[in-house]
Symmetry: C2
Subunit: 361 residues, 2 copies
């Protein structure tokens, strides 16, 4: 069949132009007679690509020079563990803000390496809102404050960067990095699994203030130390070269789209279109999230009668709308609207939703 | 330019047929209207692919049912650390056989998690031979015995599986897995970075006897426990889906080639052809490795006069022979002859070497 509109939460849609270019040069990258996957990561051909990808990311996010950019493996989940290994000493504590599934998981994986203090949580509210900043119980002596800037499953997102004083702010931005401009200087460390807004799965992009790299004091293998990865330009061992390459193509595509201000406007428009269709459906569709906390990236919604779910999924699939099934923890539907999902996809979804409601009224 | 003959040590050549298929279906996998990279790893489409890849690998290597197969991230280097975390308790020791750069590194990364006993080493011989089995100082109380079945840089390879009694044998097979049939039951754990004989970089394939998964007693994050990865079919978190897909295509290609017996015969023929060209060059080319330890996968060689190295590299590149430069630790040349390097590539290399010697006599 032809290409569908893909609302997958991750691994998610990639820009069509990026895929087409990757397809064209899959067997012969840059005229070298081999695939980019078949090149030594230490050869000039690949290191040129790697350097350019980092430069483009630095330009897109205006990353200050005192921040290192790392291209790592292991998924965000591995770094739930590796961040405390690197940023906390034995006996230290860290503050965790928990506003959904991923924040819970980050705190849970960290417990082997740091005393986790859940400084705020919206669990009692079923993660339908964000914990108000003035109720956070922050510890000025914490090694860092960790939060999840967008919760992929629950569909809640911070629209401002929380102020946490002098303690380094650590953000899991897996599902909203590069969706809008960002003041990097407000953060100690930002990390993101690539498979939503950057590239394919198996790659993690990390942006970390260089002074924090000197913290790691506990015994651990060299391969777990971010400082070693930074000192070796993320080539301490063989990186995910295909992921790095596709990330680089995505960064170039973002620049061609007008950069992150343009993407922010486009993402706002897309999200507003879908939320309006939900809110103006007279209760046929529902999104229960606090208005101020609604995510621009992941929009969970339910039908007024879940007996209609199977028909909705079957018919939307037949209409070329892929991966609308909600996460099993919440049921219902979810549409993910990452950068690579074009406005036309959201227009098609909204048209389908109106039509479905009219036919199954 | 057209495709070259690629002798890269890794990331290395992939089978042409695998790349062509990946190219054809890059934007529309299996008629689903999306790239395989854009699919949820938990959806039926991808889990079907993942299950088939494991089944094909089990068939190729005749993996017994009491062994788990894992598709992981982090490169072999991360598992240099993670293996002792999982297989050794606090205070345990493990025996390491060191016969090259990668064995050294495996032992070094392990030291944070286990008392490393170098039970044998060929370092004093500059890794030109393998340490004789009857000189290994094995400890019957060791948590495991670790060795590197093929050393990519030094070009030495074990042609038999060493007997180590009841202690589990752990093998880093990154650069010779799937090059010949293997008696899996002789091993406790086998692991391999994908980027030589399996697929692209960013994927590690592990084959581990299930009883060993119960060993991990020390506190560590869930994401580091192999038992958790096994219990979750390697989807404890998002795997490298593109790597898994290409690995699956490579396994199918190996089956189409006649399986590992056919590959073993082909690999033996390729290596013999190149070693004969070196040995019969009257000293123009040299490979210093002990005959019994020569690798079928990686063939380092030097020219009789290293002033000719630059011309050799320039002219071989112009002749469509890629990545013959030796590792910086050894200098000279290296040709890697993994499964995806066809006999025609080695014939072209040998013809070039004879021609070069005649012209620069």
């Amino acid at each position: 069949m032809s290409r569908v509109w893909n609302f997958s939460a991750g691994p998610a849609a990639l820009p069509q132009a990026v895929l087409e270019r990757a397809q064209r040069e899959l067997l012969d990258w840059n005229g070298c007679g081999a695939s980019v996957m078949e090149l030594s990561h230490r050869g000039k051909l690949f290191t040129g690509l790697a350097t350019q990808a980092e430069a483009d990311l630095r330009e897109l996010l205006a990353i200050p020079a005192d921040y290192a950019v790392l291209f790592l493996q292991g998924g965000a989940t591995q770094h739930f563990a590796q961040i405390p290994m690197n940023l906390a000493g034995e006996g230290d504590s860290a503050d965790y803000i928990v506003n959904g599934h991923w924040g819970e998981k980050a705190a849970s994986e960290a417990t082997s390496y740091v005393r986790v203090n859940v400084a705020a949580s919206s669990k009692a509210d079923h993660y339908l809102s964000l914990p108000a900043r003035d109720h956070w119980q922050l510890d000025p002596g914490a090694a860092y404050v960790h939060y999840t800037s967008n919760e992929t499953i629950h569909g809640v997102e911070y629209h401002d960067i929380p102020s946490v004083g002098e303690v380094p702010l650590v953000a899991d931005m897996s599902s909203n990095i590069l969706s809008e401009p960002l003041d990097i200087s407000r953060f100690g460390l930002i990390y993101a699994g690539a498979q939503k807004n950057i590239g394919p799965s198996g790659l993690v992009v990390m942006i970390v203030r260089r002074d924090l790299l000197q913290r790691a004091a506990r015994p651990m293998a060299r391969i777990f130390r971010y400082a070693e990865h930074a000192a070796n330009d993320s080539m301490l061992n063989t990186p995910n070269t295909w992921g790095w390459y596709l990330a680089g193509l995505t960064f170039q595509w973002l620049k061609q789209q007008g950069g992150l201000s343009a993407m922010a406007a486009r993402n706002r428009t897309k999200a507003e279109l879908l939320y309006r269709a939900i809110d103006e459906s007279g209760g046929y569709y529902r999104n229960p999230i606090d208005l101020a906390a609604r995510s621009r990236m992941n929009v969970p919604f339910t039908l007024h009668d879940n007996a209609l779910d199977a028909a909705f999924l079957q018919e939307s699939g037949a209409a070329g709308l892929l991966a609308l099934k909600g996460h099993k923890a919440l049921g219902g539907m979810r549409a993910s609207l990452y950068n690579a999902v074009p406005p036309e996809a959201v227009e098609a979804l909204v048209a389908f939703m109106r039509d479905f409601a009219a036919r199954h009224g």
